[in-house]
């Protein structure tokens, strides 16, 4: 699944990256969005995008169209 399938409050584990521009991937990796890391969708901006995520204890904002390259696995609560 990808990030667009997540609803607010959902948690997911990163399993890998789809093909993307190297700079963007490098930035996400540096921020700790590595394989096995957990992300939680905690909010959406007023106009429906970007998304607000919690990862490794801090908050990060990404556009859903760009963050689609994250391969995710849903975590059941």
């Amino acid at each position: 699944m990808d990030i667009t399938a997540m609803k607010i409050g959902d948690r997911a584990e990163i399993t890998g990256y789809a093909e993307t521009e190297a700079g963007y991937r490098a930035k996400l990796l540096a921020l700790g969005l590595t394989r096995g890391a957990m992300i939680e969708l905690i909010g959406v901006a007023p106009m429906g995008d970007p998304l607000r995520l919690k990862v490794r204890g801090f908050e990060l904002s990404l556009r859903s169209s760009e963050a689609k390259i994250l391969k995710l696995e849903a975590v059941t609560k």
């Binding site: 990796l29 801090f58 904002s61």
Partner: protein, 887 residues
């Protein structure tokens, strides 16, 4: 012998409190500049180490890893990798320890001595946790000290740690990369290079291993950078195990509660707009209160003061023109931009430091994407409505070069405050009550053309996607006054000394051209009348403006446009002067021409005599002192009107509010059933609106001034012209008062009138319009006769006027904005920008005029061809420079 100076690099993630730490450590011993070739600010600080050695601390822009995406990250990464630093000081945010250690591990691979500085420990403690610094230091193999260096002992501990790092061979922690990558590392490594280059190559930081990367992806199913990051985070997990200890129960976070409102789906945008409104008001209005101060002060010192000084020293005239009128005016112009630039930076630093800026970008990102810009580009656009200069400076907060360029290209379309007086003048002359709508239409045209430009540039000159949006939402933070002020001050200094230089030179050039006179080739042969080079150029260019409705007989309109380069509001005063000069000439065709020459020489001589009589050391000193007193007096004056501006920061309402109020009241009064009490109340209200009290006060003041001057004239005949001016003033006030009284009487007559109320109301309406036109002209510092000439010159055609205003909106920004753009984006892009704006302005104005009034097919086709040509040129240029933009 000079001692060896140690170079230290201060590196860390964004939002780690790096600048605060840098300021605390280096204090006042800092220099700010630019990194070579880019517009990223460079801060250097000097530190005297305990052993007497000197250390230069280079503050690198924040970065999450060595893999640079934006311009400032590239600067930071390149400096760190270059090996120029003898020691790396890594500042780490204790709250986000894990994530910050990612950069730490990457820096460690560079093989330089390192010291870690831990910041935000106070915030972590408020959350109930503490970092075990001793264990962390042991595991990492580098000293770890606190970023809190307020006390001398803490500071010394830090400096000793730096010396220790330099003196000993550190056994730094190492990341173990998976064996599956070993082959790739060997292949990517070149002879004689440090091992770390192979890692950087596989990560994609340095090019040269594309095929190896592709091979790895084929065999292992994932690119090497993902594997490298995995390995680093595994190491981080190992390093941080048990390091952060809970020491107390966490207190609830205010930040989270605040975010519930600030980032709320419904409240987010209103709050954002509120904050932006405040920022705008703060820069434009509060900052604006100091503009007159700098203007008057600059004049007292550099223009009048310097001019008098030079005259008294018997300097040659050309030198006075060059120094006082040219350079002096240039410096004065730079000075007037100090308040808006300082205040915008103060506001921006405040928003950045508090953590709101990142949230604002998050809230409006979706909206700004229409323009192909990131959310953070909103601020420069908004500030552009006040003044283009701080708007261009504010783009410094955008890290991506393409986004910055695009924003700077679009900022001039936001109609700045200086253009408003021009709209006001034309509005008063041509549009009357519809002025407000007209001004709105102009602002809207600007916005629409900005969108048009954004779309055009996105597909031509600046092809490519906007930078991907990766925005950390840092914890809220009460901004430190010292950091915020310091940052604003640094940026201001930068502006004054870099953009200011270009600005002063440009103004110098134009001022000198404005002062040097040449024989007027346009006048009839017999006169020896002389006109300035600027005027000459304006008249020569007049034919260019004919297609947009500025006829050749209206050459003043084209000259005013050139004078408007100083600042757009000067179009008004230029028209004022130029039309006024022409008027009497037309009226006095009859007198013998020879006498004109004689009068002129006489005038020149008498002026010279006057000048010599008037100017002594004493009088120059008095003028100077008066200037300074006046400058200080402007501040309380400006602040007195501050509150009125909260609801109208642009000052747009000068057009309509009173006028509409008066008409509205009249309509109410003329309604059939109004009780006497109610009538009296409305009457009183109307009198307030007409401001009879204010007029009486003005009358008294004008009378006093006139009498005072009249008395002095007896002793000093030179003052005669001032007496005339004072009498004219007095007369205009008397006139206004008479008109207001007439209006009042008219309104009163409604009380007795029965049936013909409607007729009275209509008369009232017609009279009140001319009354407010006069008041408005008073505010615009031009007289009603100017408006008449203006109407005549523009054939009494609203469309001609509107086309002219469209051009005023669009054509090259004032010299100040031009200089700032040149400093920020270089001559190449600036030239493109200025040409584009002017061509677009001409095309839009011409199209508008031809479609509405001119109806000349040729002049509809030409602008279209021009626009197509511009698009084609942009497309070709875009292909050429594409490589440069992709960092």
């Amino acid at each position: 012998m000079s001692k060896h100076v140690i170079t230290a690099a201060l590196a860390g993630d964004p939002n780690t409190g790096k600048s605060t730490f840098f300021n605390a450590w280096t204090g006042l011993r800092q220099v700010t500049g630019n990194w070579p070739g880019v517009t990223v600010e460079k801060h250097l600080g000097q530190i005297a180490l305990p052993n007497g050695e000197q250390m230069t601390l280079v503050d690198l822009p924040g970065m999450y890893s060595l893999h640079a995406v934006s311009e400032d990250e590239r600067v930071a990464s390149e400096f760190a990798r270059s090996g120029e630093a003898d020691v790396i000081i890594n500042i780490v945010d204790a709250v986000n320890l894990e994530r910050n250690l990612y950069l730490t591990l990457a820096l460690m691979e560079l093989g330089k001595p390192m010291v870690m500085v831990l910041s935000m420990t106070d915030i972590l403690e408020r959350q109930g946790f503490r970092v075990d610094m001793a264990t962390l230091s042991e595991r990492l193999g580098i000293p770890v000290v606190s970023a809190n260096i307020q006390r001398r002992s803490q500071r010394q501990a830090l400096e000793r740690a730096v010396l220790e790092a330099l003196a000993t061979k550190q056994r730094q922690a190492r990341v173990v990369y998976p064996e599956s990558l070993n082959q790739a590392f060997i292949k990517a490594r070149r002879e004689g290079e440090p091992e770390v280059r192979a890692v950087h190559r596989l990560e994609g930081i340095v090019p040269g291993a594309e095929t190896i990367i592709a091979d790895v992806e084929k065999v292992l199913g994932t690119t090497p950078d993902v594997l490298i990051a995995d390995a680093r985070y595994d190491k981080i997990a190992e390093l941080t195990r048990g390091i952060v200890k809970q020491v107390a129960r966490a207190r609830t976070e205010i930040g989270r509660t605040l975010d519930r409102f600030v980032l709320n789906r419904w409240l987010g945008i209103p709050i954002f707009l509120g904050v932006m409104y405040f920022l705008f008001w703060f820069t434009q209005v509060v900052g604006g209160c100091f503009i007159d101060f700098f203007d008057v002060l600059g004049d007292a010192f550099f223009v009048t003061g310097l001019g008098n000084l030079l005259t008294l020293c018997h300097a040659p005239d050309w030198l006075i023109t060059l120094l006082a009128d040219g350079l002096g005016t240039g410096i004065q112009t730079v000075l007037t931009f100090i308040p808006p630039v300082f205040f915008i930076f103060l506001g921006l630093s405040l928003l950045e430091d508090s953590g709101y800026m990142a949230r604002a970008a998050y809230v409006v990102d979706r909206f700004m994407r229409f323009l192909g810009l990131p959310g953070s580009a909103f601020v420069p656009m908004l500030v552009g409505f006040g003044c283009t200069v701080p708007a261009i400076m504010a783009t410094r907060t955008l890290s991506n070069r393409r986004d910055r360029l695009l924003t700077i290209f679009m900022a001039p379309f936001m109609s700045c405050g200086a253009r408003l007086p021009v709209y006001a003048l034309f509005g008063a002359a041509f549009f009357g009550l519809a002025s407000g709508t007209m001004v709105f239409a102009i602002y809207l045209s600007g916005l629409l053309l900005a969108v048009f430009t954004g779309v055009l540039l996105k597909h031509t000159l600046f092809v490519g996607d906007p930078a991907p949006f990766v925005m950390e939402l840092p914890l809220y933070h009460i901004p430190r006054v010292s950091t915020v002020f310091k940052q604003a001050w640094e940026r201001l200094r930068h502006f004054v000394f870099r953009a200011g230089k270009v600005m002063a030179l440009m103004v110098l050039l134009l001022s000198v051209c404005d002062k040097i006179t040449v024989p007027n080739v346009y006048a009839s042969k017999e006169t020896t009348e002389k006109i300035s080079i600027v005027e000459m150029a304006g008249r020569a260019m007049a034919p260019v403006f004919t297609p947009m409705g500025v006829d050749r007989e209206n050459w003043q309109g084209s000259v005013a446009l050139i004078i408007g380069l100083f600042a757009k509001e000067q179009v008004v005063s230029a028209l004022n002067t130029l039309y006024a000069i022409e008027a009497p000439v037309e009226a006095e065709v009859a007198p013998v021409e020879a006498s004109a020459e004689a009068t002129e020489t006489a005038v020149v001589e008498s002026e010279e005599v006057e000048a010599e009589e008037l100017l002594t050391w004493g009088s120059a000193r008095t003028t100077f002192a008066d200037g300074i007193v006046e400058a200080f007096a402007t501040i309380p004056d400006a602040f007195a009107g501050l509150l009125d501006t909260v609801l109208d920061p642009l000052g747009v309402t000068i057009f309509k509010s009173e006028y509409e109020q008066a008409v509205g009241l009249m309509e109410k009064m003329s309604a059939a059933k109004v009780s006497d009490d109610c009538m009296a109340a409305l009457q009183a209200e109307l009198e307030t609106v007409l401001d009879l009290e204010g007029l009486h006060a003005a009358l008294a003041e004008a009378t006093v001034t006139r009498d005072a001057i009249a008395q002095q004239v007896g002793q000093n005949p030179v003052l005669a012209p001032s007496l005339e001016a004072a009498e004219a003033d007095l007369e205009s006030v008397v006139n206004q008062l008479e008109q207001a009284n007439a209006l009042r009487t008219l309104a009163r007559s409604l009380m007795e009138a029965g049936a013909d109320r409607a007729a009275i109301a209509a008369t009232f309406k017609a009279q009140v319009e001319s009354y407010y036109r006069d008041t408005m002209s008073e505010e615009l510092e031009s007289d009603a006769s100017l408006m008449e000439t203006l109407k005549q010159k523009f054939n009494n055609d609203k469309n001609r006027a509107f086309a002219y205003l469209l051009f005023v909106l669009l054509y090259v920004p004032c010299l100040a904005a031009m200089a700032t753009a040149v400093r920020e984006i270089g001559w190449g892009y600036s030239t493109i920008l200025f040409s584009y704006l002017t061509i677009l302005g001409w095309c839009v104005a011409t199209l508008y005029f031809q479609i509405t009034t001119g109806h000349c097919l040729l002049w509809v086709i030409v602008p279209c061809v021009f626009l197509a040509a511009v698009a084609a040129v942009f497309y070709a240029l875009g292909k050429k420079i594409k490589v440069k933009l992709v960092v």
